[in-house]
Protein backbone atom coordinates (compact mmCIF):
# COMPACT_ATOMS: atom_id res chain seq x y z
CA UNK A 1 0.00 0.00 0.00
CA UNK A 2 1.68 3.21 -1.09
CA UNK A 3 -0.16 5.55 1.28
CA UNK A 4 -0.80 5.58 4.96
CA UNK A 5 -4.56 5.85 5.27
CA UNK A 6 -4.20 9.06 7.28
CA UNK A 7 -2.72 10.68 4.20
CA UNK A 8 -5.90 9.90 2.32
CA UNK A 9 -7.65 12.24 4.73
CA UNK A 10 -5.27 15.02 3.77
CA UNK A 11 -6.02 14.38 0.12
CA UNK A 12 -9.76 14.36 0.81
CA UNK A 13 -9.48 17.71 2.56
CA UNK A 14 -7.39 19.17 -0.25
CA UNK A 15 -9.86 17.90 -2.81
CA UNK A 16 -12.82 19.30 -0.90
CA UNK A 17 -11.02 22.65 -0.80
CA UNK A 18 -10.27 22.58 -4.50
CA UNK A 19 -13.85 21.84 -5.54
CA UNK A 20 -14.95 24.61 -3.15
CA UNK A 21 -17.02 22.33 -0.97
CA UNK A 22 -18.74 24.00 1.95
CA UNK A 23 -17.03 21.50 4.24
CA UNK A 24 -15.40 23.45 7.04
CA UNK A 25 -13.67 22.04 10.08
CA UNK A 26 -14.67 24.42 12.89
CA UNK A 27 -11.69 26.43 14.14
CA UNK A 28 -12.35 25.15 17.64
CA UNK A 29 -12.06 21.55 16.47
CA UNK A 30 -8.74 22.46 14.87
CA UNK A 31 -7.53 23.94 18.15
CA UNK A 32 -8.84 21.02 20.19
CA UNK A 33 -7.19 18.48 17.94
CA UNK A 34 -3.90 20.32 18.03
CA UNK A 35 -3.99 20.40 21.84
CA UNK A 36 -4.69 16.68 21.81
CA UNK A 37 -1.91 15.84 19.35
CA UNK A 38 0.72 17.97 21.09
CA UNK A 39 -0.13 16.53 24.51
CA UNK A 40 -0.23 12.97 23.22
CA UNK A 41 3.12 13.26 21.46
CA UNK A 42 4.63 14.75 24.60
CA UNK A 43 3.19 12.01 26.82
CA UNK A 44 4.44 9.25 24.58
CA UNK A 45 7.87 10.84 24.45
CA UNK A 46 7.93 11.22 28.23
CA UNK A 47 7.13 7.58 28.80
CA UNK A 48 9.91 6.55 26.42
CA UNK A 49 12.33 9.06 27.83
CA UNK A 50 12.16 7.46 31.26
CA UNK A 51 14.05 4.49 29.78
CA UNK A 52 17.21 6.41 28.84
CA UNK A 53 19.99 7.83 31.03
CA UNK A 54 19.92 11.60 30.76
CA UNK A 55 23.70 11.86 30.27
CA UNK A 56 23.64 9.83 27.09
CA UNK A 57 20.89 12.05 25.75
CA UNK A 58 22.59 15.34 26.46
CA UNK A 59 25.36 14.77 23.97
CA UNK A 60 23.05 13.54 21.23
CA UNK A 61 20.69 16.45 21.83
CA UNK A 62 23.56 18.91 21.51
CA UNK A 63 24.59 17.43 18.17
CA UNK A 64 21.02 17.35 16.87
CA UNK A 65 20.38 20.97 17.80
CA UNK A 66 23.70 22.17 16.40
CA UNK A 67 23.19 20.36 13.10
CA UNK A 68 19.61 21.60 12.95
CA UNK A 69 20.78 25.18 13.35
CA UNK A 70 22.52 24.83 10.01
CA UNK A 71 19.19 24.65 8.19
CA UNK A 72 18.06 28.26 8.60
CA UNK A 73 21.62 29.40 8.06
CA UNK A 74 21.70 27.58 4.73
CA UNK A 75 18.19 28.62 3.78
CA UNK A 76 18.57 32.33 4.44
CA UNK A 77 21.30 33.18 1.90
CA UNK A 78 19.66 30.97 -0.70
CA UNK A 79 16.38 32.83 -0.28
CA UNK A 80 17.91 36.29 0.01
CA UNK A 81 20.55 36.05 -2.75
CA UNK A 82 19.32 33.45 -5.20
CA UNK A 83 15.65 34.17 -4.56
CA UNK A 84 16.11 37.93 -4.19
CA UNK A 85 13.56 37.94 -1.39
CA UNK A 86 13.56 40.86 1.03
CA UNK A 87 15.53 40.18 4.19
CA UNK A 88 12.45 39.85 6.42
CA UNK A 89 10.86 37.29 4.13
CA UNK A 90 14.05 35.31 3.70
CA UNK A 91 14.56 35.24 7.45
CA UNK A 92 11.00 34.26 8.21
CA UNK A 93 10.97 31.44 5.66
CA UNK A 94 14.33 30.24 6.95
CA UNK A 95 12.85 30.10 10.44
CA UNK A 96 9.87 28.07 9.25
CA UNK A 97 12.13 25.51 7.58
CA UNK A 98 14.58 25.41 10.48
CA UNK A 99 11.78 24.68 12.89
CA UNK A 100 9.78 21.45 12.68
CA UNK A 101 6.31 20.24 11.85
CA UNK A 102 4.72 18.25 14.64
CA UNK A 103 2.15 16.71 12.34
CA UNK A 104 4.72 15.58 9.79
CA UNK A 105 6.60 13.96 12.66
CA UNK A 106 3.39 12.24 13.76
CA UNK A 107 2.74 10.92 10.29
CA UNK A 108 6.31 9.61 10.06
CA UNK A 109 5.92 7.85 13.42
CA UNK A 110 2.70 6.34 12.19
CA UNK A 111 4.44 5.28 8.99
CA UNK A 112 7.16 3.49 11.00
CA UNK A 113 4.57 1.89 13.26
CA UNK A 114 2.75 0.57 10.24
CA UNK A 115 6.00 -1.11 9.16
CA UNK A 116 6.75 -2.48 12.63
CA UNK A 117 9.90 -0.36 12.64
CA UNK A 118 10.87 0.98 16.07
CA UNK A 119 12.75 4.20 16.86
CA UNK A 120 14.56 5.70 19.80
CA UNK A 121 11.97 6.97 22.26
CA UNK A 122 13.73 10.24 22.81
CA UNK A 123 13.02 11.49 19.32
CA UNK A 124 10.17 13.52 20.81
CA UNK A 125 12.73 15.33 22.91
CA UNK A 126 14.52 16.31 19.73
CA UNK A 127 11.19 17.44 18.30
CA UNK A 128 10.77 19.81 21.23
CA UNK A 129 14.37 20.99 21.16
CA UNK A 130 14.30 21.67 17.44
CA UNK A 131 11.21 23.77 17.59
CA UNK A 132 12.69 27.03 18.83
CA UNK A 133 16.39 27.56 17.96
CA UNK A 134 15.49 28.20 14.34
CA UNK A 135 12.93 30.78 15.40
CA UNK A 136 15.62 32.64 17.30
CA UNK A 137 17.98 32.45 14.37
CA UNK A 138 15.29 33.68 12.02
CA UNK A 139 14.53 36.67 14.20
CA UNK A 140 18.19 37.45 14.52
CA UNK A 141 18.65 37.23 10.76
CA UNK A 142 15.73 39.56 10.20
CA UNK A 143 16.94 42.15 12.67
CA UNK A 144 20.66 42.22 12.00
CA UNK A 145 21.64 45.81 11.42
CA UNK A 146 18.31 47.11 12.69
CA UNK A 147 17.95 48.02 16.36
CA UNK A 148 18.06 44.99 18.60
CA UNK A 149 14.63 45.35 20.13
CA UNK A 150 12.86 43.33 22.75
CA UNK A 151 14.39 39.88 22.84
CA UNK A 152 12.82 39.08 26.16
CA UNK A 153 9.35 39.50 24.69
CA UNK A 154 10.26 37.25 21.82
CA UNK A 155 11.76 34.60 24.05
CA UNK A 156 8.61 34.62 26.14
CA UNK A 157 6.45 34.41 23.03
CA UNK A 158 8.31 31.30 21.94
CA UNK A 159 8.88 29.48 25.21
CA UNK A 160 5.49 30.18 26.68
CA UNK A 161 3.90 29.39 23.33
CA UNK A 162 1.17 26.80 23.30
CA UNK A 163 3.05 24.12 21.43
CA UNK A 164 6.13 24.18 23.62
CA UNK A 165 4.04 24.21 26.80
CA UNK A 166 1.98 21.23 25.69
CA UNK A 167 4.89 19.22 24.30
CA UNK A 168 7.14 19.89 27.28
CA UNK A 169 4.27 19.50 29.72
CA UNK A 170 3.26 16.18 28.19
CA UNK A 171 6.88 15.07 28.24
CA UNK A 172 7.17 15.92 31.93
CA UNK A 173 3.89 14.23 32.84
CA UNK A 174 4.77 11.12 30.85
CA UNK A 175 8.20 11.03 32.47
CA UNK A 176 6.85 11.47 36.00
CA UNK A 177 3.86 9.17 35.71
CA UNK A 178 5.59 6.52 33.64
CA UNK A 179 4.00 3.88 31.49
CA UNK A 180 2.10 2.33 34.41
CA UNK A 181 0.80 5.62 35.77
CA UNK A 182 -0.45 6.71 32.38
CA UNK A 183 -2.23 3.45 31.64
CA UNK A 184 -5.72 4.81 32.43
CA UNK A 185 -5.11 7.62 29.95
CA UNK A 186 -3.90 5.36 27.15
CA UNK A 187 -7.38 4.84 25.78
CA UNK A 188 -7.67 8.51 24.99
CA UNK A 189 -4.16 9.67 24.22
CA UNK A 190 -2.65 6.64 22.51
CA UNK A 191 -5.48 4.51 21.13
CA UNK A 192 -7.22 7.42 19.47
CA UNK A 193 -4.07 9.14 18.27
CA UNK A 194 -4.13 7.99 14.69
CA UNK A 195 -7.82 8.70 14.24
CA UNK A 196 -7.44 12.20 15.60
CA UNK A 197 -4.44 12.72 13.34
CA UNK A 198 -6.62 11.68 10.40
CA UNK A 199 -9.22 14.34 11.18
CA UNK A 200 -6.52 16.94 11.71
CA UNK A 201 -5.05 16.07 8.33
CA UNK A 202 -8.46 16.48 6.74
CA UNK A 203 -8.45 20.04 8.05
CA UNK A 204 -4.88 20.66 6.96
CA UNK A 205 -5.86 19.54 3.49
CA UNK A 206 -8.61 22.15 3.45
CA UNK A 207 -6.26 24.85 4.69
CA UNK A 208 -3.52 23.85 2.25
CA UNK A 209 -5.98 24.07 -0.64
CA UNK A 210 -6.91 27.59 0.39
CA UNK A 211 -3.25 28.58 0.15
CA UNK A 212 -2.96 27.82 -3.55
CA UNK A 213 -3.47 31.48 -4.39
CA UNK A 214 -0.56 32.54 -2.17
CA UNK A 215 1.62 30.03 -3.91
CA UNK A 216 0.78 31.23 -7.36
CA UNK A 217 1.75 34.74 -6.35
CA UNK A 218 4.99 33.46 -4.81
CA UNK A 219 6.38 32.18 -8.07
CA UNK A 220 8.54 29.29 -9.16
CA UNK A 221 11.63 30.02 -7.14
CA UNK A 222 9.83 29.51 -3.85
CA UNK A 223 8.05 26.41 -5.12
CA UNK A 224 11.41 24.91 -6.03
CA UNK A 225 12.85 25.87 -2.67
CA UNK A 226 9.91 24.19 -0.92
CA UNK A 227 10.85 20.88 -2.52
CA UNK A 228 14.64 21.18 -2.48
CA UNK A 229 15.04 22.38 1.09
CA UNK A 230 13.41 19.30 2.64
CA UNK A 231 15.78 17.13 0.65
CA UNK A 232 18.77 19.05 2.00
CA UNK A 233 17.32 18.80 5.50
CA UNK A 234 16.67 15.10 5.16
CA UNK A 235 20.21 14.47 3.96
CA UNK A 236 21.54 16.36 6.97
CA UNK A 237 19.25 14.34 9.20
CA UNK A 238 20.42 11.03 7.85
CA UNK A 239 24.04 12.07 8.14
CA UNK A 240 23.52 13.20 11.73
CA UNK A 241 21.66 9.99 12.47
CA UNK A 242 24.52 7.91 11.17
CA UNK A 243 26.98 9.94 13.21
CA UNK A 244 24.96 9.35 16.36
CA UNK A 245 24.40 5.70 15.57
CA UNK A 246 20.62 5.95 15.50
CA UNK A 247 18.42 3.07 14.38
CA UNK A 248 16.79 3.10 10.96
CA UNK A 249 13.60 4.39 12.57
CA UNK A 250 15.48 7.10 14.42
CA UNK A 251 17.28 8.17 11.26
CA UNK A 252 14.00 8.37 9.39
CA UNK A 253 12.45 10.50 12.09
CA UNK A 254 15.41 12.83 12.34
CA UNK A 255 15.47 13.23 8.57
CA UNK A 256 11.76 14.01 8.67
CA UNK A 257 12.23 16.57 11.43
CA UNK A 258 14.97 18.39 9.54
CA UNK A 259 13.01 18.12 6.30
CA UNK A 260 9.77 19.41 7.75
CA UNK A 261 8.75 23.06 8.03
CA UNK A 262 6.77 24.39 10.95
CA UNK A 263 3.31 25.75 10.37
CA UNK A 264 2.02 25.93 13.91
CA UNK A 265 4.65 27.54 16.12
CA UNK A 266 6.61 29.42 13.47
CA UNK A 267 3.80 31.43 11.86
CA UNK A 268 2.62 32.65 15.26
CA UNK A 269 6.08 33.64 16.41
CA UNK A 270 7.17 35.25 13.13
CA UNK A 271 4.00 37.28 12.75
CA UNK A 272 4.82 39.08 15.97
CA UNK A 273 8.61 39.18 15.80
CA UNK A 274 9.09 39.86 12.08
CA UNK A 275 5.89 41.62 11.05
CA UNK A 276 7.32 42.95 7.78
CA UNK A 277 7.52 39.39 6.46
CA UNK A 278 4.60 38.30 4.29
CA UNK A 279 3.06 35.25 5.97
CA UNK A 280 1.54 34.17 2.68
CA UNK A 281 5.00 33.23 1.40
CA UNK A 282 6.20 31.22 4.36
CA UNK A 283 2.90 29.48 5.08
CA UNK A 284 2.21 28.92 1.41
CA UNK A 285 5.54 27.19 0.94
CA UNK A 286 5.55 25.26 4.21
CA UNK A 287 1.94 24.12 4.16
CA UNK A 288 1.09 24.23 0.49
CA UNK A 289 4.14 22.40 -0.85
CA UNK A 290 6.57 21.06 1.73
CA UNK A 291 3.96 19.48 3.96
CA UNK A 292 2.21 17.44 1.25
CA UNK A 293 5.57 16.70 -0.38
CA UNK A 294 6.86 15.19 2.84
CA UNK A 295 3.66 13.28 3.46
CA UNK A 296 3.35 11.79 0.03
CA UNK A 297 6.93 11.34 -1.16
CA UNK A 298 9.36 12.55 1.46
CA UNK A 299 8.77 10.18 4.35
CA UNK A 300 8.90 6.98 2.28
CA UNK A 301 12.02 8.32 0.53
CA UNK A 302 13.76 9.23 3.79
CA UNK A 303 12.91 5.82 5.15
CA UNK A 304 14.31 4.15 2.08
CA UNK A 305 17.49 6.22 2.31
CA UNK A 306 17.80 5.38 6.00
CA UNK A 307 17.43 1.66 5.32
CA UNK A 308 19.98 1.78 2.55
CA UNK A 309 22.60 3.90 4.29
CA UNK A 310 22.15 2.14 7.60
CA UNK A 311 22.96 -1.07 5.76
CA UNK A 312 26.09 0.48 4.25
CA UNK A 313 27.54 2.35 7.22
CA UNK A 314 26.24 0.72 10.36
Amino acid sequence: MPFEPVILFFLLGALAGLIRSDLRIPAVLYESLSIFLLLAIGLKGGVELARYPVGELLFAAGVVVAAGALIPLIAFPVLARLGKLPRADAASIAAHYGSVSVVTFAVASTFLLGRGESAEGYMTVFLVLLEFPALMIGIWLARRGAGSGDWSKVLHEVFAGKSIVLLLGGLAIGWIAGSEGLKPLDKLFFDLFKGMLAIFLLEMGLVAASRIGDLRRAGWFLAGFAVAMPLVGAALGIATGLLLGLSVGGMTLLATLYASASYIAAPAAMRIAVPEANPGLSIGAALGITFPFNLLLGIPAYHWAAVTLHGVFA
Partner: protein, 102 residues
Protein backbone atom coordinates in the same frame (compact mmCIF):
# COMPACT_ATOMS: atom_id res chain seq x y z
CA UNK B 1 -33.27 59.30 31.62
CA UNK B 2 -32.19 59.55 35.16
CA UNK B 3 -28.56 60.14 34.41
CA UNK B 4 -27.94 62.10 31.24
CA UNK B 5 -26.40 60.51 28.16
CA UNK B 6 -23.12 61.90 26.96
CA UNK B 7 -21.28 61.50 23.68
CA UNK B 8 -18.14 59.39 23.45
CA UNK B 9 -16.20 57.73 20.64
CA UNK B 10 -16.58 54.09 19.70
CA UNK B 11 -13.33 52.94 18.13
CA UNK B 12 -13.57 49.66 16.22
CA UNK B 13 -10.52 47.72 15.06
CA UNK B 14 -10.80 44.68 12.83
CA UNK B 15 -7.44 42.93 12.64
CA UNK B 16 -5.52 39.68 12.60
CA UNK B 17 -6.03 37.56 15.73
CA UNK B 18 -2.24 37.57 16.14
CA UNK B 19 -2.50 41.14 17.45
CA UNK B 20 -4.90 40.36 20.30
CA UNK B 21 -2.38 39.91 23.10
CA UNK B 22 -0.40 42.91 21.97
CA UNK B 23 -3.41 45.24 21.77
CA UNK B 24 -4.60 44.08 25.18
CA UNK B 25 -1.26 45.14 26.60
CA UNK B 26 -1.06 48.44 24.76
CA UNK B 27 -4.58 49.84 25.00
CA UNK B 28 -4.50 50.81 28.69
CA UNK B 29 -1.32 52.79 28.03
CA UNK B 30 -3.26 55.16 25.79
CA UNK B 31 -5.91 55.78 28.40
CA UNK B 32 -8.52 53.24 27.30
CA UNK B 33 -10.36 51.89 30.34
CA UNK B 34 -11.73 48.82 28.68
CA UNK B 35 -12.38 46.97 25.46
CA UNK B 36 -14.58 44.26 24.01
CA UNK B 37 -13.36 41.60 21.60
CA UNK B 38 -15.16 39.09 19.45
CA UNK B 39 -14.02 36.61 16.83
CA UNK B 40 -14.45 37.46 13.18
CA UNK B 41 -13.55 36.48 9.67
CA UNK B 42 -13.57 38.60 6.57
CA UNK B 43 -12.00 39.84 3.44
CA UNK B 44 -10.13 42.94 2.37
CA UNK B 45 -7.23 44.24 0.37
CA UNK B 46 -5.05 41.33 1.54
CA UNK B 47 -7.54 38.68 0.55
CA UNK B 48 -9.89 36.40 2.39
CA UNK B 49 -9.38 35.43 6.02
CA UNK B 50 -11.70 32.53 6.72
CA UNK B 51 -10.78 31.81 10.37
CA UNK B 52 -10.31 28.13 9.52
CA UNK B 53 -7.15 28.12 11.61
CA UNK B 54 -5.36 30.62 13.86
CA UNK B 55 -3.25 32.09 11.05
CA UNK B 56 -6.35 33.20 9.17
CA UNK B 57 -8.54 34.36 12.07
CA UNK B 58 -9.58 37.96 12.68
CA UNK B 59 -10.78 39.73 15.78
CA UNK B 60 -13.06 42.72 16.18
CA UNK B 61 -12.05 45.05 19.00
CA UNK B 62 -14.25 47.83 20.32
CA UNK B 63 -13.10 50.61 22.61
CA UNK B 64 -15.38 53.18 24.14
CA UNK B 65 -13.33 56.22 24.99
CA UNK B 66 -13.07 59.99 24.74
CA UNK B 67 -11.84 61.71 21.63
CA UNK B 68 -8.27 62.20 22.81
CA UNK B 69 -7.79 58.55 23.64
CA UNK B 70 -9.34 57.52 20.33
CA UNK B 71 -6.97 59.82 18.51
CA UNK B 72 -3.96 58.49 20.39
CA UNK B 73 -4.87 54.89 19.68
CA UNK B 74 -5.55 55.53 16.01
CA UNK B 75 -2.25 57.36 15.64
CA UNK B 76 -0.44 54.48 17.30
CA UNK B 77 -2.09 51.88 15.09
CA UNK B 78 -1.24 53.93 12.04
CA UNK B 79 2.42 54.23 13.00
CA UNK B 80 2.90 50.75 14.30
CA UNK B 81 0.68 48.36 12.40
CA UNK B 82 -0.72 49.78 9.19
CA UNK B 83 2.27 48.87 7.07
CA UNK B 84 2.71 45.26 8.16
CA UNK B 85 -0.62 44.00 9.46
CA UNK B 86 -4.06 43.51 8.04
CA UNK B 87 -6.34 45.86 9.90
CA UNK B 88 -9.16 48.27 9.50
CA UNK B 89 -10.07 51.01 11.96
CA UNK B 90 -13.14 53.19 12.23
CA UNK B 91 -14.67 55.62 14.65
CA UNK B 92 -18.21 56.62 15.42
CA UNK B 93 -20.10 58.76 17.91
CA UNK B 94 -22.16 57.00 20.53
CA UNK B 95 -24.13 58.06 23.60
CA UNK B 96 -23.19 56.51 26.89
CA UNK B 97 -24.31 56.57 30.49
CA UNK B 98 -21.67 56.95 33.19
CA UNK B 99 -19.40 58.73 30.74
CA UNK B 100 -16.72 59.05 33.41
CA UNK B 101 -16.12 55.30 32.95
CA UNK B 102 -14.68 55.78 29.47
Amino acid sequence: MNRPLQTRKLLTIVCEAALEKRLEKELPGFGAHGYTISDARGSGAHGRRDAAWPASANIRVEVLCDEAVAEAVVRHLEAQYFSSYQLVVFLSDVQVLRAEKF
